[in-house]
């Protein structure tokens, strides 16, 4: 039986925690960033994108995060409300920290860099006092992304949230989301991400991200089976190794191995694919789909998002994913 079990009597379906930023997407494509003249702003950050994805999918979604006390903070809050995301877990910063920014370059479909503004970013100032045990206790699932562990006090806040989730049987999802620029060293990343992973029921990452995650525990390993075995021997019940357009593989506690479907499309950019996939998988699992179905919906969501010039704005509903998959198969066959 490859379904995850959730505490069904919870008010909230899923809470994401951590990074919310502003993406500045280029209005002109296929040119380097130094020649990009104008930008459109959207909400970004891996857990924020996942929250938009799950809410769009039709899952009751909340967010725990710290936002700036300025126009960008207000915009994020308004946007979350518009997307039907519960904002009771948002805290307004009182120390003049600024929203993290990502200026996106779309040089060509395969090459797209980012300039990140993360120095003293407001999301990394989320602190332990702002983690409410009740809020987490009332949710079926908690989604953590690795970036939130990169610096204090956000690191401590996330570990506390994981402790509360474990205490109350809130299912914990860990999206490795490795972003080198906020971390001091690879070894520190491995240490804290592996400590978080050991508190999580589901771990999702690319092969490269698992290499980072395992740097201390099983250094040098690049074998998915060894990876799955290692983490499933700890708390994890489900491990998903993403391989982009080559598809992803899920491993279950009983060592069942499920290869996900893929829907190759012509992408505009690659950003957002991982968040769309995670959002689709998590929503589907919470809605009671089995792992194979969940992976298909995740892949469908990712295929939709990479064709658009935004991450959060492009997140599809469950119906849109269903329709995309059906039409895709008709086209393909």
């Amino acid at each position: 039986m490859s379904k995850l079990i959730f505490q069904e009597d919870r008010e909230m379906d899923v809470i994401a925690i951590g990074r919310i930023g502003i993406d500045l997407n280029p209005n002109e494509y296929n040119r380097p960033l130094e020649e990009t003249e104008s930008f459109t702003r959207t909400v970004g950050g891996s857990p924020a994108n996942i929250a938009v994805a799950t809410s769009r999918y039709g899952i009751k979604t909340g967010f725990i995060g710290r936002i700036a006390d300025d126009a960008f903070g207000r915009y994020i809050c308004q946007y979350f409300k518009l997307k039907n995301i519960d904002t009771n877990g948002l805290v307004i910063d009182n120390k003049h920290h600024k929203t993290g920014l990502a200026f996106v370059e779309i040089k060509n479909p395969k090459e797209s860099n980012i300039i990140m503004y993360r120095s003293e970013a407001v999301d990394l100032h989320l602190n332990m006092e702002e983690i409410k045990e009740e809020y987490i206790k009332n949710a079926k699932a908690l989604v953590v992304s690795g970036t939130a562990l990169a610096a204090s006090p956000s690191r401590e806040a996330v570990f506390l949230a994981l402790k509360y989730a474990n205490k109350h049987n809130t299912v914990t999802f860990f999206d490795v989301d490795y972003r080198p620029y906020t971390w001091n060293s690879l070894k520190e990343t491995s240490l804290y991400c592996s400590m978080a992973a050991q508190m999580c029921d589901v771990i999702i990452g690319t092969r490269e991200e698992f290499d980072v995650l395992e740097g201390v525990d099983i250094p040098g390993n690049q074998d998915d089976d060894i990876t799955a075995n290692y983490w499933l021997n700890h708390r994890s019940k489900l491990v998903i190794v993403k391989r982009g357009k080559d598809g992803s593989t899920a491993y279950l506690k009983n060592r069942e191995r499920i290869v996900g479907e893929v829907f190759p499309v012509q992408p505009l950019k690659t950003q957002g694919a991982g968040d769309a996939f995670a959002g689709g998988v998590i929503s589907s699992l919470i809605k009671g789909k089995n792992v194979k179905e969940a992976m298909k919906y995740g892949a469908g969501a990712a295929a939709i998002v990479v064709q658009e010039n935004s991450c959060s704005e492009a997140m599809p509903t469950e119906e849109e994913i269903t329709k995309f998959i059906e039409e895709y198969k008709i086209r393909r066959d």
Copy 2:
């Protein structure tokens, strides 16, 4: 005789030092920043704007500053070259610092706020090692703006540049350019700005800026005559108190008092007016105009810039200012 004397045998006319940033100007006006959807990037920062202004005016201009090792740094460097500014004083940062940003809100002609990204901004990492005595020795004038004194190591770099300028009779201009967000306290601002002002031949500021500048030396003073008297008793030869559309007043060593002309226009925004004014005044003085003429050209440049949706991009040439003033007078009379 109300002309400033410059060392005429210098290769460079003027060098500005300090802040270069990126302005992100709204593509949609008359709305709050949280509802502004897209932005156009231009080069910004008070001394950078002044450098563009003097170079556009026709004065040989250089810049001493630290730029990021990324697409924004490359853009700034290319832009300066395009505007004919000497970039030999630009240093490429090697520590992942980012370009300072200013997101501009144009709510209405009178109200326009800014979100500043200045945490660990690359310009504030300019350091003493990067100040070349020869470069300053070869210039007629050095322009310092107060913001560069707000944090170390930029603070020390600017004091060193002022020392070299004083040593070699390079005329020193101080534009107070008070920006509260980078400073620890008003008292610290007063202290360091007044120490810099005492090393400068010309001081330019609004009445509010002189209030800040004098916080330690003559606390509570709001009288322009006392201001002028105080600074002219030190090193200064020329003190200009700006009063926006009410015009500005210049005070000379011999206590002559010159009220500048104004050219009231319907502004789109107010940002950039001060830099255009300073650029016009400095260029004119270096070109040998007297103080009264210089103030007129400064006011003309400011009137042109406030009607445009950019600071640096809108800076006019000497001919454009002359033409604007002539046409303005014809219209007026």
Copy 3:
């Protein structure tokens, strides 16, 4: 069977990790510190004291720590060699950090304060690169004290050491050693100490220290039985709650409860009692004594140390403890 099982084929008996400092003990007693005129320096710091205690006891002891590149660092290294402690795990700092200091006040036997010099203390700069997996793999036991978790990078180094110890079945001892001055908040202390405690086979602390340790997990608890139950449900095999001269209680995995003997003496000071106790208990357990015996030897060592004006220097050998206990009982009976 109340004995701990160690991997008997290991070269080293026990490795302590973390804080090594200099204690400055007053040469004049029974006066406030402001009137204390001269001081004698000895090696201090909880894990350093424990290492001296175990080595004096006759157990092969090593230490992992960072020492200053100055006369105090050299003194510590010489002292450890003199006490027969393996120094291969000591790293000499190369960044001018200084040895932590503790100026001890002995106002009266019950009241003795300390002025701690811990700002940028060299021991807290121990980092992950300095933790050698082989060194830990070759030891029967690892002793961690909570203070080393108070700041980065020492915090990460200790978590890494615990990971290696768990991986190689090196028995892990956690001495809570709560020192408020190095921590940011009580909640942060609770978080990281509880995360470390969950990686440890034996937890030792006073009731007050368990209150801190449990701040996040079982807030408000002050009941030793609940404490024992909670931690024994995790990895721990042995939990010891110290109650000073009222004796200590050990709890085993099988929920056996052992109350330790005490040897009341007239103390000169109280510092060092806890470290002597921990050293005696750990050494005895490694030597194969059962928990009851180990607690007796710990209490004996503590009784000896509180009568002397030093912590490290006063640590007794196994024979001295045996002799003290025998004589004490003769005197008492």
Copy 4:
């Protein structure tokens, strides 16, 4: 006329500002610090020593500084009161900063090192708010030592004090007191020390200290005459270059050059000689002695102090210096 002119109507004779620390002097001499077992604590820090020297000399002395809220802070305050130093300028720190420490090694009369504890030292946290204009206005002289300029906010506090002193004709003394360990770079030291020196009426330093002081202004200079000329062309009225037992040379505004007497003795250590000299010179000048006399009393005080195992405690009264000089000459002749 080689006397300095002071505002005679001032309540206080002299105020020193900046560093007050604790010296820990070895109780055993002629051995390296790692073998030194016990230490006696005294008050230390260049300006504190000078304040003790001037007060002992019989001059009404005050001190502006920040002291720790612990036993060492209380000891310093009590000691100052005992030495008749006005403590109204002392501020008790409220942020847990600790008193700076100096552990002194007396290896042999010529070689004696120091381990300095200066990380976050409380004296460097003196801030602008704690500088009272009235207090400085009521004093004949202000003594600044360079170390207080090494870090913020003490740097800003001292510059503010110098501004107030200049405003109210309080004679300003600058003792370069170069201590490399608190500074970021030699160039930064040169910059800030030279900026302070330009606000001072009297500059005192060793040849090596003038080399540092002049690093930006006259780099490479090692000639006392050029040194004197340079600074006397600025604000300074008196420049004293110290050359230890080879005597010192004073330069006056009128370019008069006065070589000071020396009293060679067998020293126990060299620390404190400079402070004793400065204290003697400053006190003598304030008491109305001419520069030649003042230099003699400074040299006498230094000769007395180097024979004792303390700096502050060994500072002599005017009578003791007079007596020492008389007896020295009798012995010599």
